[in-house]
């Protein structure tokens, strides 16, 4: 055995013998291993930060792509069901995407309508709550009036701020609409050509690794579908919990608001898995 391999077997290197003064204790064998682990961890963190920053920089495309990919994986079986009923893949994928968009629109409309229909009732409750809080906390009426006057005098500033918020709100809405349209288109193509796309990606891989890679994609799809089922269960539980408070006294919101809250908590996947008779 050479000097170097002998030194390595004892946990030190040949350079240790050259640099270590005679009589000095041998370095601990686990120190290089800890060093390797520490530097590996640093490298992993740096790589994660770089990847996260890169995704953040292109989030306008990555977000719709991610949501579309996840929804396409979850709803692919629905396209399969439609195809078995004689629909062409193009039509089946289109119907699923339109169904999802209709469901999403329905939930948003129901939520907004539920809140706006009860705006007066909510406003009255807020006024009453303010009165109760003033009485309970024994707030000085003069201070309250002064605060109200200060608020009224600040109205122009508030209005200016409101306009700024309105403009930024409009641009947010435009961004949201663009994202939804992009996600719908990506989802449509993934639903229609997902299987072919998967085959062509797998075909690019080294033949020795092809089966492994294909099985990995299959497992990832299974994980995403299981996740969809888990989210559906959670949505159902949240719906039940949020729908129960009307029975308690002191909560006077009528059913549309609670219904819409529960619907909003329920993801589109719930409707799909309910329709598919899951579990």
């Amino acid at each position: 055995m050479s000097d170097e391999s002998d030194g390595a077997a004892r946990g030190g290197s040949a350079s240790d013998h050259e640099t270590r003064p005679p009589g000095a204790p041998a370095p601990l064998s686990w120190v290089p291993r800890v060093g390797v682990l520490a530097w590996s961890f640093v490298g992993f963190v740096v790589a994660t930060i770089i990847v996260a920053a890169a995704f953040g920089a292109v989030s306008e495309i990555v977000l719709p792509l991610t949501f579309a990919a996840v929804l396409a994986v979850i709803f692919k079986p629905a396209v399969g069901v439609l195809e078995r009923h004689g629909f062409k893949p193009t039509l089946a994928a289109g119907l699923v995407v339109l169904g999802l968009l209709a469901l999403m629109t329905g939930v948003v409309v129901a939520t907004v309508r539920g809140v706006t229909e009860q705006a007066d009732q909510i406003g009255a409750s807020v006024d009453a709550a303010l009165g109760n809080a003033v009485d309970a906390l024994d707030v000085d009426r003069a201070s309250l009036d002064a605060a109200r006057a200060a608020t009224e005098s600040a109205a122009p500033t508030i209005a200016g701020g409101f306009l700024t918020h309105l403009v930024s709100g409009v641009s947010t809405l435009v961004g949201l609409a663009s994202g939804v349209i992009l996600a719908a288109l990506i989802g449509y193509y993934l639903l229609k050509d997902g299987t072919r796309l998967r085959r062509s990606v797998v075909a690019q891989i080294d033949p020795r690794l092809r089966d492994e890679f294909d099985s990995f994609i299959g497992d990832s799809i299974r994980v995403l579908r299981d996740y969809g089922r888990g989210r559906t269960v959670m949505s159902a539980i949240v719906s039940v919990v949020t729908a129960s408070p009307p029975s308690c006294s002191g909560c006077r919101l009528s059913s549309p608001s609670w219904w819409s809250t529960s619907s909003a908590a329920t993801s589109p996947t719930s409707a799909y898995f309910s329709a598919a008779g899951w579990p």
Partner: protein, 102 residues
């Protein structure tokens, strides 16, 4: 809670606050990790930690995708390890790192 305060006073608002907080705590920290852990066959504690980290790093998207991404990454690591690829990479990296450390 504000509506309960307006309609029923402080006591009912306090009850409502407790109900809302308890429901949120139980749902987010106990029921969700349990359900997700059972569905995806991972420990609820991992679900809890990964979801919190995902929320911190990636906002709402991170919150939603943290668990499936973790499970998929775990699967990928298991596959790479079973093929000995991680050991190969570590063996190749060790001499360089050792020389850097020395």
């Amino acid at each position: 809670m504000i509506i309960a305060l307006g309609d029923g006073g402080l006591s009912k608002a306090a009850i409502m606050l407790v109900v809302v907080l308890a429901a949120n705590l139980v749902l987010e920290n106990f029921v969700e990790p349990k359900v997700m852990g059972r569905t995806l066959d991972i420990h609820p504690l991992i679900v809890l930690i990964v979801t919190a980290l995902g929320g911190l790093l990636g906002g709402i998207v991170g919150l939603m995708l943290a668990v499936p991404v973790t499970v998929i990454a775990g699967d990928a690591i298991t596959r790479l390890r079973s093929r000995g690829l991680i050991a190969q990479v570590a063996d190749r990296a060790k001499p360089t790192l050792r020389s850097v450390l020395d």
